[in-house]
Symmetry: C2
Subunit: 722 residues, 2 copies
C-alpha cells in the first residue's frame, strides 16, 4: 500500500504543478484588441464543440455504465464513470489552456522578439495537458486500486478472484473493474479522436479548398470565414484528441499488465505452479508504480525546461526535456523493480532475467518508442530522401505526387514493425507475456512529457495563425513559423509513439482477452487455422479499411458543407473579400461541430458493433480473430496514412523553401504538391489517429463483454441443439 500512497502523491503533485502552469500562462498578456478578439473566437468555438461532445459523451457513458452495472456489477459501472471523468477532465483542462496559451505565445513573440521566451510559454501551455494526462489517469487508477484493493481484503480470495453474478457470468471483480476504468477512458478518447479528427480536417480542407484554391487568399486569412474553425480544429483534434488518446493507451497498457498478471496467477494455481499471492500483488502494483515514477520524472523534466534559460534552438530544448524524463524514468523504475521483486519467489513466473525482468521489458518499450519515433521522422522530414522524392515527383504533376507519396507511406511500414517485433520477442524473453504489457507500459511511462511536447505543436500552430490574422510583423511570424515547423517534426514522432504504444497496448489487451476465457488449467491459445478464428481474422483485417474509408468520406462530406457555407458568404457578402464586410465565423464553427458529430457516429458504431455482434453470434474465438486481424491491419494503415500524410505535407513545405531547382510557391509543381498535402490531411490527422483508438477500444470492450458472450452466443446455442 505504501507504493500506492507514493503514486497518489505523485499524481497530486503533477496536477498541482499543472495548475501552477495554468495560472502562470494565463497571467501573460493577450496583446492587441484584435488578437484578443480572434483568440476569444477560437476559445468560444472550442467550448462550443466541447459542449456538444460532452452532452453526447454523458448520455452514452451513463447508458454504458448502467448496462455494465446491471449485467456485470455496480462497481464496474462506477469505475467506468471514473475513467470517463478523468479522461474528460484532462481533455477539458488541456484544451482550455491551449486556447489561452495560443494568443499569449503570439504576444510573447510580439513583445519580446525572443524565440526562447516564446517557446517557454508554448511549452508551459503544453505541459498543462501533459501533466493532466498523467495526473488524472493515475489519480483515477489509485482510486480504483484502493477501493477494490479494500474489497479484495474484505472478501476471501476465491470470491474476489472468480465471482459468479446473478446471470451466472463468471468474472474477477478486480480485473473487471480495472477494465471498466480503461473502457471509460477509451470511450472519451474515441469521441475526441474521431470527432475531433473529422472536425479539424473538415475545417482545414474546407478552408483550403475554397480559400487557397478558389479565392486565392492565403492560409489563416481573416477574410476566410472558415479560418477560425480551422484554428479551433487544431485544438480539438491535436490537443484534446491526442491527449485523450495517449491517456487511454497509458491506462490500457497498465490494465493489460494487471489482467495478465491475474490470469498467470490463476493458471499457476490450477497447475500448482508456485506463483505466490505476494508476487501477484507486486505484479499488480509494478505497472502503476512504473507509471507513477515516470510521472515524477516528467514533472522534473518539464520543470527543468520551464525553469532554465532557453536557447534559440527549440528542437534541442524539447529533446532535452524528453531525455531527462525518459532517463530518470529508467533509473527510478530500475530501483523500484529491485525493491519490489527482491526477496519474492520468482519460480512461478517466467521472469527469465530475475528481479529486473519487468524493468528490462519496460526499458525495451522506452527504447523502441524512441526508435519508432525516429523512423517516423526519417520518412516524413524533408531532410531525408523519402520526402524529397515526393517533392521531385511533383515535377511530373499531381498524379505522381500521389503515387510517390503512397509508395513512401507503404514502404515506411516495415521498419517500425520490425522494431515492434523485436521488442515483443525480447520483452517476452525477459518476462513472458507480462513482459509485453510492461513494454507497452514502459513506452508510455513518460507520457506526460510526450504529450507536453506534442501539445506545444498545435499551440504554436495556432499562435502563428493568430499572428497572421492580426497582421503582426514578419519577425513575429518568423518566430512562430520556426516553432511550428519544429512542431511538425515532434508531431510525426508523437504519431509514431501513439501508434507504437497503441500496438503494444492492444496486443497485450488481446492476449489478456484470450487468457480471460481460457480455462486456467490449459495454456491459452488462439489457433488461427480454426475456421471461426480464421474468418474472424479476415473480417478483422477488413474492418480498419472499412472504418478508414468511412472516415475519409465523413471528412469530405463535412468539408464540402463548409465549402458551401464559405461560398454562400462570399456570394452574399461580396465585401468580405475586399475587407469591407466581416465574415460570419460562428456559422462555420457550428457547421464543423455538427458535421463532425454527425459524421463520426456511423463509423464508430460500426466499429464497435463488429466485436460485440460477432461475439454474441459466433463466440469468443471469432472475436479473437477479429481482434488480431484488426490490430495488425490497423497498425499498418495507421503507419501508412500517418507517414504518407506527413511526407506529403513536408514535400510541399520543401518546395516552398525553393530547394527543388527553384520551383517555389505558386508554380505548377507547388500546386501538385498542394494536392498531395490535401489528400494527406484526412489520412494523417483523422484516419491514422482514429485507428489507434479503434484497436484499443475494440480490445477493451471485447475483454469486458467476453465474460458474457463466451457463455451466451448463438453459435454455441445452435451447436447445442444438434
Amino acid at each position: 500500500m505504501n507504493w500506492l500512497v507514493l503514486v497518489f502523491f505523485v499524481s497530486v503533485l503533477a496536477l498541482a504543478y499543472a495548475a501552477l502552469n495554468f495560472y502562470s500562462v494565463k497571467k501573460v498578456d493577450e496583446g492587441t484588441r484584435q488578437m484578443r478578439e480572434i483568440a476569444a473566437s477560437i476559445r468560444e468555438g472550442a467550448i462550443t464543440f466541447l459542449n456538444y461532445e460532452f452532452r453526447i459523451i454523458a448520455m452514452i457513458a451513463l447508458l454504458v455504465a448502467v448496462l455494465m452495472g446491471v449485467v456485470v456489477g455496480w462497481y464496474v459501472g462506477v469505475a467506468f464513470l471514473i475513467g470517463a471523468t478523468m479522461s474528460s477532465l484532462a481533455a477539458f483542462v488541456g484544451m482550455r489552456i491551449a486556447t489561452y496559451a495560443n494568443v499569449r505565445v503570439s504576444n510573447t513573440a510580439r513583445t519580446t522578439k525572443k524565440l526562447g521566451k516564446t517557446l517557454k510559454v508554448a511549452f508551459q501551455g503544453g505541459s498543462v495537458m501533459g501533466l493532466c494526462v498523467g495526473g488524472f489517469a493515475l489519480l483515477g487508477l489509485v482510486i480504483v486500486y484502493v477501493v477494490f484493493g479494500l474489497l479484495l481484503k474484505q472478501l476471501s480470495l476465491e470470491n474476489v478472484y472468480l465471482f459468479r453474478n446473478f446471470l451466472g457470468i463468471e468474472f474477477s471483480p478486480f480485473t473487471m473493474t480495472i477494465s471498466g476504468y480503461a473502457l471509460g477512458c477509451s470511450i472519451v478518447a474515441m469521441f475526441f479522436r474521431v470527432g475531433g479528427g473529422i472536425y479539424t480536417k473538415a475545417a482545414d480542407m474546407g478552408a483550403d479548398l475554397v480559400g487557397k484554391v478558389e479565392a486565392g487568399i492565403p492560409e489563416d486569412d481573416p477574410r476566410n470565414p472558415a479560418t477560425i474553425a480551422d484554428n479551433v480544429g487544431d485544438n480539438v483534434g491535436d490537443v484534446a484528441g491526442l491527449g485523450s488518446d495517449l491517456l487511454e493507451s497509458f491506462v490500457g497498457a497498465i490494465s493489460s499488465g494487471v489482467i495478465l498478471a491475474f490470469h498467470l496467477f490463476l493458471s499457476s494455481e490450477a497447475k500448482n505452479g508456485g506463483m505466490t499471492p505476494s508476487l501477484l500483488q507486486k505484479m499488480f502494483l509494478y505497472p502503476v508504480v512504473l507509471a507513477g515514477l515516470g510521472l515524477l520524472a516528467c514533472v522534473i523534466g518539464i520543470a527543468y525546461i520551464i525553469v532554465k534559460e532557453l536557447s534559440e534552438d527549440p528542437h534541442r530544448e524539447l529533446n532535452m526535456s524528453t531525455w531527462v524524463s525518459a532517463g530518470l524514468t529508467v533509473v527510478l523504475a530500475g530501483f523500484a523493480s529491485w525493491f519490489m521483486f527482491r526477496g519474492e519467489d520468482l519460480s512461478g513466473v517466467s521472469f527469465n532475467l530475475g528481479t529486473f525482468s519487468p524493468w528490462i521489458a519496460s526499458v525495451l518499450g522506452i527504447v523502441s518508442g524512441v526508435v519508432i519515433g525516429l523512423i517516423a521522422e526519417y520518412y516524413t522530414s524533408y531532410d531525408y530522401n523519402p520526402t524529397k522524392s515526393i517533392a521531385g515527383a511533383s515535377i511530373e504533376g499531381p498524379a505522381l505526387t500521389i503515387t510517390q507519396g503512397m509508395s513512401v507511406g507503404m514502404r515506411s511500414t516495415m521498419a517500425p514493425v520490425l522494431v515492434l517485433g523485436a521488442t515483443v520477442i525480447a520483452a517476452y524473453g525477459a518476462a513472458g507475456m507480462y513482459g509485453i504489457a510492461m513494454a507497452a507500459a514502459g513506452m508510455l511511462s513518460f507520457v506526460s512529457t510526450t504529450v507536453t511536447v506534442d501539445t506545444y505543436g498545435p499551440i504554436s500552430d495556432n499562435a502563428g495563425g493568430i499572428a497572421e490574422m492580426s497582421k503582426l510583423d514578419e519577425e513575429v511570424r518568423a518566430i512562430t513559423d520556426k516553432l511550428d515547423s519544429v512542431g511538425n517534426t515532434t508531431a510525426a514522432i508523437g504519431k509514431g509513439f501513439a501508434i507504437g504504444s497503441a500496438a503494444l497496448a492492444a496486443t497485450s489487451l488481446m492476449v489478456a482477452y484470450i487468457f480471460s476465457f481460457s480455462p486456467p488449467e490449459v495454456d491459452p491459445i488462439l489457433d488461427i487455422i480454426n475456421p471461426m478464428t480464421l474468418v474472424g481474422a479476415m473480417v478483422g483485417t477488413a474492418l480498419p479499411y472499412l472504418f478508414s474509408g468511412m472516415l475519409i468520406e465523413s471528412v469530405t462530406k463535412a468539408a464540402r458543407k463548409m465549402v458551401d457555407e464559405v461560398r454562400r458568404q462570399f456570394k452574399e457578402k461580396p465585401g468580405i473579400l475586399d475587407g469591407t464586410e466581416k465574415p460570419d465565423v460562428s456559422s462555420c464553427v457550428s457547421i464543423a461541430s455538427e458535421g463532425a458529430l454527425q459524421e463520426m457516429k456511423l463509423p464508430s458504431y460500426i466499429a464497435l458493433a463488429f466485436p460485440i455482434v460477432g461475439g454474441f453470434v459466433f463466440g469468443a474465438y471469432f472475436v479473437g480473430g477479429i481482434l488480431i486481424g484488426s490490430i495488425m491491419s490497423a497498425i499498418m494503415l495507421a503507419l501508412y496514412t500517418g507517414n504518407a500524410g506527413g511526407a506529403w505535407d513536408n514535400a510541399k513545405k520543401y518546395i516552398e523553401t525553393g530547394a527543388l531547382n527553384g520551383h517555389g510557391k505558386g508554380g505548377p509543381v507547388h500546386a501538385a504538391a498542394v494536392v498531395g498535402d490535401t489528400v494527406g490531411d484526412p489520412l494523417k490527422d483523422t484516419v491514422g489517429p482514429s485507428l489507434d483508438i479503434l484497436i484499443k477500444i475494440m480490445s477493451t470492450i471485447s475483454l469486458i463483454a467476453v465474460a458474457i458472450f463466451s457463455k451466451y452466443n448463438l453459435f454455441a446455442w445452435l451447436s447445442s441443439l444438434f
Copy 2:
C-alpha cells in the same frame, strides 16, 4: 486410373481446340498496310519482352530445379521444370495469338461493320489463352500424377509417405512433387505478373504523362513514340500476366487439396481414425477430376459462343459463355462426386454431408467467385453510386477525386471478405479443411472460360488502339470502343475472381503448410499468441505494403525513363509532332522491357527472402505467422487497389459521357478525374495482381522449404545450446 485417362483426354481435347481456334483466327485478314505495320510492331515488341523474360526465367528455373533436386529429390526438380514449362507454354501461345487477334479484330470491324462478328474474333482469340491455361495445367498435372502414381505403386506405402533423404529431411515424395510442380507455375507467373505489370503501366503512364498532358495529343496517337509500347503492355500484363496468374491459382488450389488429403490421412493413421487408403486415393483424384470436368464444360461453353450467331450485346454473350461453363461444371462435378465417393467408408473424414460433401464445397466456391465478381462490378462500374461519387467529388478538384477514390476502395474490401468468410465456414462445415481447398478448386474449375472472357478485353483494347493509330472510321472505333468498355467490366469481375481464388488457394496452402510440419498424432494448430507467430504475423502484414510500395516506385521510375525518352525524341525530331518525321518506337519498347525486368527484381527477391530467411532464422512458426499476416494483408490491399483503380478509371469515363452536369472531356473536372485514373493505373494493374501472386508463391515456397527449415534453423540451434 480411369479418371486420370479421362482428364488426360480432356486436356488434349482442350489444347487441340485451342490450336484450331489459333489457326482460324490467324486465317482472318489483317487489313491495310498501315494496320499490318502497327500490328507487326506490337507483335515484335511483345516477342522482345518475352525473350528477355524467358532468358531470366530459364536461368532462375534451372537454378531452383537443381537446388531442389539436390536438397530434396530429383523428381521434385523435374516436376518443378514441368510446371515452369507448362506455364510458359500457356503464356507464350496465349500472348502470341493475342498479338495476331488484335489487328484482325480491328479489320473485322472495318470490313463487316458488325459488332457480333467482331466480337467473335476477339472471343476466339481470347479462347486460345483460356484453353491453354486449363489444358497445359492439367496435362502437366496428369504427367506428374502418372509418373509419381507409378512410383507410389512400386514403392511400399511407408517409404512413399514419409521418406528421409540423405540430409535427414523427412518428406512425402508424392506431395512434395506436386508442390514442386505448383512452384514451377508460380515462378513463371511471378515473372509475367510482376514484370508484365510494371511494363504495362510504365508504358501507359509514360505515354500519358508526356502525350496527353504535355504535348496535348490523344491516347493511341501514332505520333507518340510510347504508344506501341503501351499496346505491347496490354498483351504483356493483361494477357500473359493474367493467364499465368490464374493458371497458378488453379494448380495451387488442386495441389493444396492433395496435400491436405495426405496429411489428414497421416493424422488418421496416427490416431487409428479409420480413413482408408482407397478414400485417400479418391481425395487425391477428386480435385483433378473436378478440374478436368470443368475444362470439358469450358470447351463446350466456349464452342457454343464460337459456333452460334452472336447478338449485338457483347455483355450478354460473354455472360452466356460463363453460365454455360459454370452450370455444366456444377452438374458434371456432382456426378463425379457421387461416382467417386459412393461406397467409400467416410467415417474417417469430416465429410459432414456424405458423398456430396466435396462437391458442395466446390459449388460454394463457384458461387462465391461469381458473387465477389459482382461486388467488384458494383464498386467499379459507373452505373452505381460508388464510382459516381468519385466523379462528383472531382468537381472540387483532384485532391477530392483521390480521397473519394481511396474511400471507395477501402470500403469495398468488407463485402467480398464477408463472402469469402462465409464460404470458408460453409465449406469447412461441408468437408472440413479439405472443403476449403475444394472451394478454391471449385472457384477455379471453369478457369478456361474466365480467362477467355478476361483476355477478350485487352485484345479489344489493342484493336481499338490499332484502329485509332491507323485512322480508321469513327464507325469502326465505335465498335471497338463498345467491346473495350465491356472489357473493362469483365476485367473488374476477373480481378475479383483472381483475388478471391488467390485468397482461398493461399489459405488452403497455408493450412497445408501447418499440417506439413506438425506431428501427425496431434491436431495441427497455429497459435497466434505464440510470440514467434505473433511477430511473424506483424512482419507478414507489413510485407505486402513494402512490396506494393516498391512496385509503385518501380512503375514510376520506369515511366519516368519513358517520359525522358519521348521528350528527347520530340526535342531532337520536331517533325514528329507535325507528322513529317517518324518516331522511334523500338527504343521505347526496349526501355519498357529493360525497365520492367530491372525494376521487378528487388521487390520480388525481397518478398521471397522474407519467408525463406525468416524460416532458417526463426523457424516454422515464425513463417506461419508471416504467411497468415501477408495473406490477410494482401487480400485487403489487392481489393483496395483493384477497386479504387477501377473506380477511378470509370469515374473518368463517366465524366467523358457528359452525364455529370455536362462536365465533359477537356474541362477541369475531367482533368481532376484523369489524375485519379493515372494514380489508379499502377494500383489496379501492377500492385493488385502482383499481390495475388505474392501470397501464393510465398505459401508454395514455404510449403517446400519447411521440410528443411523446420529441422535446421538458427533459433532452434541456439535454443539447443542453452
